[in-house]
Structure formats: C-alpha cells, structure tokens
Symmetry: C2
Subunit: 164 residues, 2 copies
Amino acid sequence: MDLPSPSKRTAFLLSQLGALASSRFAERTREVGLTPSDAGVIRLLGRAPGLSQRSLADRLGAVPSRVVPLIDSLQVRGLVERGRSSTDRRNYELRLTVEGAKMLRTLREIAEKHEAELLAPLTSEQSAQLGNLLARLAGAHGFDTDLHRDLGRKDPGTTTQPQQ
Amino acid sequence: MDLPSPSKRTAFLLSQLGALASSRFAERTREVGLTPSDAGVIRLLGRAPGLSQRSLADRLGAVPSRVVPLIDSLQVRGLVERGRSSTDRRNYELRLTVEGAKMLRTLREIAEKHEAELLAPLTSEQSAQLGNLLARLAGAHGFDTDLHRDLGRKDPGTTTQPQQ
DNA sequence: TATTGTTATACTCTATAACTATA
DNA sequence: TATAGTTATAGAGTATAACAATA
C-alpha cells in the first residue's frame, strides 16, 4: 500500500545533509583563516556593534570564558577591537575593524557560493520548496532564525548523525 | 523582482535543522544508555554480523584504535560479543548478543518516534516532498545512504552551523 | 613483510570554578 | 553584593604511532 517509504529516513537525511552543509561551510571559511566560531562572532558584531563579551556569549549560547580566547584571536588578527565602555568600565564594547568589516563581506560571498553549490542539484522551484519546508520546520521547532545558538558546545552526540 | 529570497538561507537552515535532528536523536539514545556511536555500531552489526573491528572501523569512517574502547564498552554491557575467527585468528567476528538484538529493535522504535516528532509540523504530503528533495540532494552530493561516515570525527567546525 | 587488534601518548576543544576589577 | 572579564585546571573525545600476535 505505502510506497517504499522515503519519508522513513527523512530525519536521518536531514542530519547527514546538515552535517555536510556545516562541514562544507567550515571548509570555505577555513580558506580565509576563520573557524566557524570566528565567522559567527564576526557576523554578530556586524549586526550588533558595541556588544559586550557577556552579551555576545549569551547570543552565541556560549560561556563567557569561551569568548575570551575567541576575541583575543580575532583582535590579534586585527579583525575586532575591544573598546572600553565609558559608562561602565567593566565591560568592553566590541566592534569590527575596517578589516573585520571587509571580512564580513567576504563571509557573505562565501555564504552565497555555499548556498549555490549545495542547492545546485535542485531546480530553482525545488530549492524554493525546500527553503519553505525547512523554514516551516524551523519555525515550528522554535528557533529564532536570527539566534545563533550552538557555537560548538560540549554535547557529545551532536556531532554525529542518527544511525537509523 | 525576486521574492525576499527565502532560499538565501536554505543552507543555513539545513545546518541548523540537521544539528537539531542529531541532538534530539542523541537525547533519545542516551535515555537507553547509548551514545550515537554505540547506536551506529549496533545498527551496523545488525545488518552485517561477523564483521571484524577493522572493517567496522572502515564502515564507520573511524580509525581502528577508536573501535577498541567502543566494542569494549558494548561487550561489558552484554550487547556485543567478540568471537574469534576460525580461519584467521587475527581478527574478531563481532556479533550482537540477544540483548544487543533487542537493543537494535529499541533503536528502530526510537528512530520512528524521532522521525514522527521531527516531521510533526508538516502534513504528510509536505513530509514526503521534503523526503524526496533531501534524497535528491543526498544522491547528488554523493552519499550512499547506507554508508555511515562521520562517527564524530575530529573536524573542528563540523559541529557548528554556518553563520550566514 | 603485511595485517589485526591493542596500548600509550598527546592534542584539541570545552566547561567549571576561582580570581580581579569595577559597580 | 553583584557583575564583566580573565585565568587555571580538569575533563571528554579523538588521532597518531609504536607494539604484540598472527598470517
């Protein structure tokens, strides 16, 4: 009666393709010297300049101590700068440098190429369909598409796909 | 001319939803005492009994030394047994025990519930559509749906989503 | 000489908790 | 006393390479 049930493994396919997408993207960012975490920080600072390390940590779903070496590294490379807040000298105001802003533009190009490469096997109608279905799923499972959790947290298992 | 381009972030959504699917599945297997790696081994031994540690490592995309503690742990828990090959005494013949086979059935139930939960927000037509699109992508990007690579290898970045 | 499984070691990434400086 | 940032430490997970037994 039922078809050989392609939908029986949809969750599995989703896990595998998600991992593929992530690793392909990581490959591309590595070519410009960034880890995916670096890329996430740059992107967030692009849209929210002046963020403190604390609120950056919150948005990334990371712990404040993890943000320290992350910003250190970006600062050394001249992509991010730490400015002291004049109103509360405890926290920094993080901003992209000119170089950092340039890197953000590079990242956007990378994301576009990444998207194009990944969806190349589909027609544009199919891509649109897929985008809609995924957006529906994401919405229903309650993620804010703007929120960037999971910076690579210690969660054994998240890195592996379900094995049917 | 163009729509507000939902497809512009499809790759990103794919990464995020894939990570969600993986971590949800990991949660469920953890409830029965298995890591996702454990689950992968049990599944493979279910369909290929008598496998050696070496060929198991190959199929998992893991290194042989990693398989040792994995099998150790499953053996201690009485889910897998190591039998010596009569023809080549260098390698083991790995098999599920009766308990292991029972666990495999549990895993299949878990996978079904997982699938149902994940796709609950979609109609059955939409689920089927999604399954077809993902299968097309998977095929085009060349994975053998049966091959289970990525047992959680050391690949910094794979655990994090692209940050647009 | 090559191969299976094993062990020992080191490396990477991350979280936890204690610390400082400001408030 | 509470909060931002920092540091030191420890833990989990994995790969590498050397090793023993068998072929």
